[in-house]
């Protein structure tokens, strides 16, 4: 429930003259050491006024609250004497102890000379009710987003009144006054857009009286004054008792629980080489103990009662060795903490240790048996959290390994490249500003758009790509995915292309995958054709991005010169002339030319995108290309899932499947083809038979 009673807390602190009275709890602040103490009269002890006690305990309440709930739990601090003084507002930026302390300093202690007749805590209580009617930014936001169901947004609140009441009758008068004011204010709120009527209000009256006096007001548990108002009365001695009371109240009001970390090793100030063990008590949301509550294990987990059973704490043991930050624990909850005794030495040692970025595992002390690590303390950006770790058996134990599933047998994934890709696509917080909204997409959507651009052409395995295995292509590949290219980027891309042209001229080897194929793979010029085609495919997916992207493509097309087949044939001729040993080739020259013409015709009918496929066929027809058939099944396999995406007839699916299954069985066949040394006739013959076999085999397996 987002808008429960604890969304809004109004503190009303009595500032009337009687609060200036001493609490009669004395503090010796002149602690004389033995060596200096001789002959000196120590300073008289100081004592706090009722006001000072009330203020410092309420500040402690706020400190704990703000530590555990930095957002959405709001405090409105009101001081009351002859009139009310509102020290802050419900606004989130007003919610800090520093703000409140500054405002309190401006108010100062009560003036004992003021006329007690004019002063009353009532002014403050009326102001508190009025304040509870005021809408907070969170309520406003919820109402605006809900629109027609805005009435679901509740308005509840709590008033904590620290005062020195005269009697039980006086207390009743205060309750009645709050009740009346609520009714009045609700009437007003009904006719206003900026006010909300109060649906539920909890009044917590804390009567503070000096030490050594008897109380004039009796304690009373929570009772219903009306359907709108409940009230409870706590009668407490100033000083230590008041502090304990407010500590208990803050826990009750905000569902907190206490954990004591025990066995914290800490260096002694005096003896640096020894270390004693200390305990530190922390407060946090009680859900961090959910497992203990449910199992009724509270006592087993080492809980102890203190302050005559008013307060319970669960003891957890500091656990060495420590954990490292790159470990991902299975954590079911993380709750902000606040140390109960914030500036004691053990507390500050523990918090500083954690704030320096270290984490501590915590163990449930058990009388016997194995040790159970149930919690972890860790800080994130200057905030300390108590993490709840799962300590029971996991239902996901013994899962199948990923290597046993789909794609698990493939061994040449581009793991390193994808790692690089992930680093480039890491996220960073972008400050909220009107500018980003003007530019349209929120940052997370821009991150997704970047992922889309980066993956337009991204082969998953090494043997599927040439260009991504080439260092020389890296500059272009890194730049082309950008949303926009600068003139400099364009130049770099063009240089990359020229560099590739240069490599081709020098006949540098390319890292064409030879996986699965026998011999040395496709010929060099064939390799370059594959490479250029792949590069074109990559760049083409980005040409719509900008005019400069288009110019990169233009550059590639111009440099590889068109039609590629003709160019290659020329080159082939040139190279051949250069070669010493050309006798064998000359014999085949006629047939080779024929096959090239054929392949060109064939190619014309193919779409650009299917170039790769066409290629494998060309290679097959080419007389002196090495055994390419192994490559064919692989290509088909890869395309299968994509084909399946579109509307595919059952027949096609079936045939594809059978083709794949059978093509594997035909590997040996293909081996024999190459050994025959390219008899064109025989090749055709075999090919036809292959087609027939497909169907026959298909039936056979069924």
């Amino acid at each position: 429930m987002m808008f429960s009673v604890s969304h809004k807390t109004a503190f009303v602190v009595d500032h009337c003259p009687y609060m200036a009275e001493s609490s009669r709890q004395q503090v010796e602040c002149d602690v004389l050491t033995k060596s200096r103490g001789q002959g000196m009269i120590p300073l008289a002890p100081v004592s706090k006024s009722l006001w000072t006690c009330a203020v410092e305990c309420s500040m402690e309440y706020c400190r704990i609250l703000y530590d555990v709930y930095p957002l959405k739990k709001l405090i409105n601090y009101i001081v009351s004497d002859s009139e009310f003084h509102i020290l802050n507002s419900w606004r989130q930026e007003d919610q800090s102890t520093h703000e409140l302390m500054s405002a309190l300093a401006a108010v100062g202690p009560p003036n004992p000379q003021e006329d007690p007749e004019c002063c009353s805590v009532l002014h403050g209580l009326v102001a508190a009710v009025e304040s509870l009617c005021k809408i907070t930014e969170y309520q406003h936001e919820a109402r605006t987003t809900l629109m027609d169901t805005a009435d679901r947004v509740a308005n509840r609140g709590r008033i904590i009144c620290l005062t020195n009441a005269k009697s039980d009758t006086h207390v009743r008068m205060l309750e009645d006054c709050v009740q009346e004011t609520i009714l009045e204010q609700n009437k007003m709120a009904a006719g206003s857009d900026r006010l909300m009527s109060i649906q539920q209000c909890e009044l917590v009256l804390v009567h503070i009286f000096p030490q050594g006096e008897d109380t004039l007001v009796s304690d009373r548990p929570k009772k219903e004054v009306s359907s709108l108002l409940t009230s409870e009365v706590h009668s407490v001695r100033a000083g230590r008792h008041l502090a304990t009371k407010l500590n208990i109240l803050v826990q009750q009001h905000f569902d907190l629980a206490s954990t004591t970390i025990t066995n914290i090793p800490m260096k002694e100030e005096q003896h640096a080489n020894t270390s004693a063990n200390y305990d530190v008590e922390l407060l946090h949301h009680r859900d961090a103990h959910l497992e203990f509550f449910k199992s009724g294990d509270l006592h087993m987990a080492g809980s102890t009662s203190r302050d005559s059973g008013l307060k319970e704490t669960v003891t957890l043991k500091w656990c060495t060795p420590r954990t490292n930050s790159v470990e991902l624990h299975y954590c079911t909850g993380a709750y902000r903490i606040s140390p109960t005794d914030v500036n004691s030495r053990p507390s500050s040692c523990l918090t500083n240790f954690l704030l320096n970025g270290r984490s501590v595992l915590l163990e449930q002390p058990r009388k016997s048996g194995s040790k159970v690590i149930s919690h972890m303390l860790s800080s994130h950006g200057g905030e300390i959290f108590l993490h709840v770790l799962n300590s029971t058996r996991s239902t996901l134990e013994d899962p199948p390994s990923i290597s046993e599933g789909c794609g698990g047998r493939v061994t040449d994934y581009r793991i390193t490249d994808f790692g690089e890709f992930m680093r480039e696509n890491r996220l960073t917080p972008v400050p909220e500003s009107p500018d980003t909204e003007a530019s349209g997409k929120p940052p997370a959507e821009r991150a997704k758009a970047q992922l889309e651009r980066y993956t337009r052409y991204w082969p998953m395995i090494i043997s599927q790509t040439t260009i991504f295995n080439m260092q020389a292509v890296v500059p272009l590949a890194n730049l082309i995915v950008k949303e926009s290219l600068s003139e400099e980027d364009l130049l770099t891309c063009q240089k990359t292309v020229y560099n590739l042209v240069d490599m081709e001229r020098k006949n540098d080897p390319l890292p064409i995958s030879t996986v699965g194929s026998r011999g040395k793979g496709p010929k060099r010029d064939e390799q370059y054709r594959i490479m250029w085609n792949e590069l074109e495919t990559l760049v083409k997916t980005h040409v719509a991005g900008s005019e400069r992207h288009q110019r990169v493509l233009d550059c590639i097309i111009a440099c590889r010169s068109k039609p590629p087949e003709e160019e290659e044939r020329k080159k082939r001729g040139r190279k051949r002339e250069d070669k010493e040993d050309k006798a064998e080739k000359n014999i085949n020259k006629d047939s080779e030319d024929k096959s090239w013409q054929e392949s060109e015709r064939l190619k014309g009918t193919l779409e650009r995108g299917k170039e790769e496929q066409g290629e494998s066929e060309i290679i097959k027809d080419s007389p002196d290309s090495p055994e390419p058939l192994n490559k064919k099944p692989r290509l088909e396999e890869i395309q299968l899932p994509e084909k399946a995406k579109g509307p595919v007839s059952l027949l096609t699916m079936w045939t594809n499947r059978i083709t794949v299954a059978n093509s594997r069985k035909h590997q040996e066949f293909a081996g024999r083809i190459s050994s025959v040394n390219n008899k064109a006739e025989l090749y055709q013959h075999l090919k036809d038979e292959n087609g027939m076999d497909l169907h026959e085999n298909g039936k056979a397996t069924r």
Partner: protein, 518 residues
């Protein structure tokens, strides 16, 4: 999500079912066994990571098969089931409550499948009696529902609805469901009691609770069909403002990547395995493990194993780089994908769901405000990966990170006063610290309206001044009396001297060194 099958083994389950076509006598128990057999077969094929246990009950209860993924054991136990005496549901529910808690603790959501003929006993120990005596029980004899763990209760009645409504059975079962927080469903058989109708009833259960959750995992244009196990449950946020259940999308889109150290063991609502599946297999497209046609299956599996899959690539790189992928599960709902290794060195792709909301982790800030690093003017990770933009720092420091002043315990106040005096004795070397501590005390005393303390400390400083040894630096005396004077002025509450944001500054003296010119 583990399953407990709670099977009624009372004598009433052996009542014969009137059947026209068949001469062989068919009991309700046989129908129940047939239904469960169908459920177990389905799970073995399509939901085989589910842990299931079998408990039989009558007036006593017995754990026949502890939690297992071995469905043949369950099946075997089912076929060896014997007949016992009367139905006593309450003790059986107590029994499974203990069984589940011992195995999985209190946080693990569990599904309870109760199979019964709907005659829920008579007299003491009957469900009717249990429900009538709900109130006023002592703490140790509470009714076992609601379970201490989140549980869905599926009641499979080997009876049709009319039959159950003739008595108060239906009403009692509905009450049982309500006691469980309404989470679950009552299934009854439609039409005549026969094998067909029992199968149709268990078919409905399978659809409701045991159908795999298929999804597509996307990273830009790279994608993979996956099965998410266990099925992600719908989540309710603030029921007052937003009472609609939230379901995760079947299109899981990666937003970007974050280092494990930066995401830093975040709290999660649930964890799920993300298993790649081959959708174009001819065998049922329901994930790994269909064994209907073993030969076919093996070849199809082998084939799927050899097709490159994005999940495997992603998993490999996440593992090597020590990173997680942030994934969007719905509007303002996110999760993370990472490599999870178990003790046997097997690892798999796991998805954890964060609590729905725009800012599930304070140290990351709003997820919608996380953008690509290319948007930042300067790489926030540094050119050599030496920095990180995470964690985000809160606007206001927590009390333990900002040296607050608390004097609730006398020792707190004494320590602060002693700190000032210690530094006072080391003037002028400690001028800076002396004034820092002095001002801290002054601020707190002013806020708490504790002017008496200011006067007291002023007196202490004056006394220190008189106690200075002859060898003391002359500056020390000046600073001490200056500080004492300023404190006294502040203690009058005169706004000129008692402003909260004002500090006492060291006195300018002519002596070289020390605090001059501060």
């Amino acid at each position: 999500m583990p399953t407990v099958v709670l099977m009624d083994a009372s004598l009433s389950m052996t009542r014969p079912v009137s059947q026209e076509q068949c001469t062989e006598e068919l009991q309700r128990k046989h129908l129940a066994v047939a239904g469960l057999t169908m459920l177990f077969e389905h799970m073995a094929n399509n939901y085989k990571l589910e842990f299931t246990s079998l408990v039989a009950f009558s007036s006593l209860w017995e754990l026949l098969v502890p939690f297992t993924r071995d469905y043949s054991t369950l099946q075997e136990a089912l076929s060896n089931l014997e007949d016992y005496d009367k139905t006593c549901l309450e003790s059986a529910l107590h029994g499974i409550s203990n069984v589940v808690q011992q195995e999985w603790g209190h946080a693990c959501p569990t599904q309870v499948v109760l199979v019964t003929d709907g005659s829920l006993g008579i007299g003491k120990g009957s469900l009717r009696h249990s429900l009538q005596t709900l109130k006023g029980r002592p703490e140790d004899k509470k009714f076992p529902l609601p379970f201490p763990f989140p549980a869905k209760l599926f009641i499979m009645c080997i009876a049709n609805a009319d039959e159950l409504q003739m008595t108060d059975t239906m009403h009692n079962l509905e009450q049982l469901l309500q006691l469980n927080g309404g989470d679950g469903q009552i299934f009854t058989m439609e039409g005549q009691l026969c094998l067909k109708s029992v199968q149709s009833m268990f078919g409905r259960l399978i659809d409701a609770a045991y159908s795999p959750f298929p999804a597509v995992l996307r990273c830009g244009n790279l994608a993979s069909d996956v099965q998410v196990f266990p099925r992600p449950e719908p989540v309710f946020l603030d029921e007052e403002i937003d009472p609609m259940p939230r379901h995760i999308l079947t299109d899981l889109e990666i937003v970007g990547f974050i280092e494990i150290g930066d995401i830093s063991s975040p709290p999660v609502m649930s964890r799920h395995l993300v298993l790649p599946i081959a959708v174009n297999k001819e065998v049922d497209d329901v994930g790994p493990g269909t064994t209907e046609e073993p030969e076919e299956e093996t070849s199809a599996n082998q084939q799927a194993g050899k097709v490159p899959n994005f999940c495997v690539l992603l998993h490999g790189s996440l593992k090597v780089e020590g990173m997680v992928a942030l994934v969007q599960l719905g509007p303002e709902w996110y999760g993370m994908l990472y490599s999870q290794a178990d003790s046997k060195k097997k690892s798999n792709l796991m998805m954890s769901l964060f609590e729905p909301g725009p800012e599930p982790l304070p140290w990351l800030g709003k997820v919608s405000q996380l953008g690509p690093i290319s948007d930042a003017a300067e790489n926030p990770y540094g050119e050599d990966d030496s920095k990180s933009p995470f964690p985000l720092q809160p606007k206001i420091k927590r009390s333990y990170a900002q040296n607050v002043t608390v004097w609730i315990k006398a020792s707190g106040l004494q320590t602060d006063v002693q700190k000032i005096l210690r530094n006072a004795r080391k003037l002028p070397e400690k001028t800076q610290t002396f004034y820092k501590e002095l001002n801290r005390l002054r601020k707190a005393a002013l806020a708490f309206g504790f002017w008496e303390l200011l006067k007291g400390v002023a007196e202490l400083l004056e006394r220190e001044c008189t106690l200075l040894p002859d060898t003391a630096h002359p500056d020390a005396a000046f600073q001490l009396s200056h500080a004492a004077k300023q404190l006294k002025l502040a203690s009058t509450g005169d706004s000129q001297y008692a402003a909260f944001d004002q500090n006492i500054n060291p006195m300018h003296t002519d002596f070289s060194g020390g605090g001059a010119g501060m």
